[in-house]
């Protein structure tokens, strides 16, 4: 019993202070977002001020903020769909079928991340503008983003597929399933946690992307969240701090809640779904 108690103590002693430190910026963001804009620099008003929701109102009613969130969500979901469609078969193939070649290809996955987008966006803008004719359209992002979400998704799914015992598939094959049928009917349902994980990681990669979003998208209504906020809330020398803080909090909290909810299933999946 004392062992378990000690473990709990260890957990609290580690998690609580770290969570406090990690979460403190968000707390301060919340406080700042409630301040009237002209008081943010007042040293006498650090904590004593009349909280107001004016910044949230400004964000939602006087900028295209809602539109940017919608754009980011659309792009995110579309990219997730494409990523899953491409990475699942590839992950399976690399985990099961490809042997030595598969392992080398697995390493090659990392190598695609070694080229920074700070460089790639130039040739890609030509591709988008001239060959695909997608300038200033969200489709340009939907087409380009999978290039950096797919490799990571493949790695994740490879890991998941490896934990699914070969015997399950072999049993299905002996029962007369084609290999493809075994894939669809046995393997994929078990890897739902893996799929959820890919969804989380992919969505977060999409939401964090900035360079391609600023180069391919022009008009204000087509902007994604990371691009729209700095443009409309930073005016030359004027930073609208409460507005910026509100803009960060509004999507982060729901997203963190969703990630948290998925986390349990993700962990369950990693422990091998078949025998639980």
């Amino acid at each position: 019993m004392s062992g378990a108690w000690r473990q709990k103590l260890f957990s609290y002693a580690v998690v609580v202070p770290l969570a406090a430190v990690i979460g403190f910026p968000f707390f301060w963001m919340a406080v700042t977002s409630l301040k009237p804009e002209f008081q943010v620099y007042d040293p006498t008003k650090v904590w004593s001020f009349h909280p107001t929701l004016a910044s949230y109102g400004f964000l939602l009613h006087h900028t295209a903020y809602v539109r940017w969130i919608r754009n980011s969500c659309l792009v995110g979901l579309a990219v997730v769909a494409i990523t899953l469609a491409v990475a699942m078969p590839a992950g399976y193939a690399l985990a099961r079928l490809a042997g030595r070649v598969g392992r080398t290809l697995g390493v090659a996955i990392f190598l695609t991340y070694l080229v920074p987008p700070t460089l790639l966006f130039l040739p890609l803008s030509r591709v988008i503008a001239q060959y695909l004719n997608l300038s200033d359209r969200l489709w340009s992002l939907i087409v380009v983003y999978p290039s950096f979400t797919i490799p990571f998704a493949i790695w994740l799914l490879m890991g998941f597929f490896k934990t699914i015992p070969q015997e399950l598939e072999d049993a299905a094959l002996m029962d007369g399933c084609s290999r493809f049928g075994a894939l669809v009917r046995i393997v994929f349902p078990i890897s739902i946690p893996g799929i959820l994980t890919v969804i989380i990681f992919t969505f977060s990669l999409v939401l964090n992307e900035f360079v391609y979003a600023i180069t391919f998208i022009s008009s204000s209504t087509n902007r994604t969240l990371p691009v729209g906020v700095p443009t409309d809330l930073i005016r030359g020398d004027l930073f609208n701090w409460p507005g910026i803080m509100a803009a960060i909090l509004i999507p982060s909290i729901p997203l963190a809640l969703i990630y948290n909810a998925f986390l349990n299933r993700f962990i369950a999946g990693f422990t091998g779904g078949a025998f639980r």
């Binding site: 009237p36 804009e37 002209f38 620099y41 040293p43 008003k45 004593s48 001020f49 009349h50 004016a54 400004f58 006087h62 966006f121 130039l122 040739p123 803008s125 030509r126 988008i128 503008a129 001239q130 300038s135 360079v211 600023i214 180069t215 391919f216 022009s218 008009s219 204000s220 700095p230 443009t231 409309d232 930073i234 005016r235 030359g236 020398d237 004027l238 930073f239 609208n240």
Partner: protein, 461 residues
């Protein structure tokens, strides 16, 4: 709760944004009332209300003064479009992102017809048309291109206008008259500043001239250096940084930092020196009039003590730079070159309205469009105290504003020196005691020489 600020009734708090909007609208009304009717064009708008045939796409920065963007987007572009049967689309992005977008548009071979940047895009010379015809057209209507504009957008080597500047922003010092008075000084010369700085710092009000990797520091330090006779290039566009005068200037600023400034100046972004002032800390900064307009709108307690003067004089004289310069370029691959040319010409010809809409932030690069005397009269009518303080802007614009790269012209090499923040770096290393002034200048000069050699090889200098 005792939160009432001087001069404002309690319960009358508006947000900063409301203030900016209201004040801007008010000022625009005042300014425009001093001009003619509030319409952009005389005569009927022939295509009003109809579907417009032509196209024109423009990209430019988010103007510090929201009223300017409102005027530009909703009045000027709309009416120009209706008069010329062109659908005008304007896009605004942060000025820091304009370079990225320019590179992307060139790489893509496709982009906006009119590209505006806050610095002349000299390195893009090969990607843009020769704007000479546009310049002639404007000159025919309002008189000669100002020396500042021409030196910034013309390459004497290739004889090409790589951009047309519609406006520039004069760069004064903004200083706290009450604080300086208390120590019996004023920033007439840099020696005066050096004398007052320790006294001011002791009272908790240091000077605020940035030495960071950002625009304001770049401008302030380059201008300061010019006052001491230090120039990055000479009149033949050859590097000339490594001189005794430059070293003296760098040393002077290092001493000024040690005695009269705060180490905060090394970690600034373009908004920081403004905020330093608004918080009541700074006794002097070098900035465009955004630094006075915002305190007016926020009704800060010391707003009437904010004075605007030209840059202090140094041993070599009183030389300043423009704070930013609006430059429009038309890509070679633009699809609506004719519309773009006409738009640009019309804008520069009618620039008086733009200047007024920007609350005197933008000064026309073709001075004939709004002569200095006329601007002075409008500035004199500004209601803020001390009365007539904005008239000095005209003097600064007329006499003390030079192009980046003075006494030479603005070119791609100068642009690269600017974009890599070599000058702030040169100063900061010395101020923080990492290098002697002599070594810092020498090292920076060798980097500068490499850059110039490179662009010379490309035939641009």
């Amino acid at each position: 709760m005792g939160e009432i600020r001087d001069g404002s009734p309690a319960g009358d708090r508006l947000t900063r944004r409301d203030f900016v909007k209201k004040a801007a609208a008010g000022a625009a009304a005042v300014g425009v009332a001093g001009a003619a009717a509030p319409f952009s064009f005389a005569g009927p708008l022939r295509f009003k209300g109809r579907w417009l045939k032509g196209d024109l796409s423009i990209i430019q920065w988010v103007h510090f003064v929201p009223a300017y963007d409102e005027w530009f987007d909703n009045t000027w572009c709309k009416q120009w479009g209706e008069k010329n049967d062109v659908q005008v689309n304007v896009e605004h992005i942060n000025n820091t992102l304009l370079d990225t977008r320019a590179a992307a548009e060139v790489a893509a071979g496709k982009g906006h017809d009119l590209f505006m940047n806050l610095h002349p895009m000299a390195s893009y010379e090969d990607q843009v048309i020769n704007h000479a015809a546009i310049v002639q057209e404007i000159q025919a209507k309002v008189g000669k291109y100002g020396a500042l504009g021409k030196a910034s957008t013309y390459n004497p080597r290739t004889k090409k206008y790589f951009a047309v500047s519609d406006n520039y922003v004069p760069d004064p010092v903004v200083w706290r008259h009450d604080l300086w008075n208390a120590v019996g000084e004023s920033p007439a010369t840099w020696d005066h500043v050096a004398k007052a700085a320790p006294l001011l710092k002791k009272r908790g009000h240091p000077i605020g001239i940035g030495q960071s990797q950002e625009l304001d520091s770049n401008m302030a330090l380059m201008a300061f250096l010019m006052c001491f006779g230090g120039f990055v290039q000479d009149e033949h566009n050859r590097p000339s940084l490594f001189t005794k005068k430059t070293i003296e200037g760098v040393q002077f600023m290092a001493n000024l930092y040690k005695n009269g400034e705060d180490s905060a100046i090394f970690g600034w972004n373009p908004a920081s020196n403004n905020n330093y002032l608004y918080a009541g800390t700074a006794s002097m900064i070098l900035n465009a009039i955004s630094a006075t307009r915002t305190p007016e709108q926020l009704n800060l307690p010391f707003v009437d003590d904010l004075w605007i003067w030209p840059i202090p004089a140094g041993p070599h004289g009183r030389l300043g730079l423009e704070h930013v310069m609006g430059c429009y370029s038309i890509w070679k691959f633009a699809q609506n070159k004719a519309n773009a040319s006409k738009f640009l010409a019309d804008l520069c010809i009618n620039y008086k309205q733009a200047t007024l809409a920007s609350q005197l932030y933008n000064f026309p690069s073709f001075p004939g469009a709004f002569p200095f005397d006329a601007i002075r009269k409008v500035a004199a009518a500004d209601p803020h105290k001390p009365h007539g303080k904005y008239t000095i802007l005209t003097t600064i614009a007329e006499k003390y504003t030079h192009n980046i790269g003075y006494p030479g012209t603005t070119n791609a090499a100068m642009d690269e020196v600017f974009s890599k923040y070599l000058i702030p770096q040169m100063f900061a290393r010395v101020s923080q005691g990492k290098m002697s002034a002599h070594d810092s200048v020498r090292d920076t000069n060798s980097v500068v020489k490499d850059i110039y050699a490179k662009w010379k090889k490309r035939g641009k200098i």
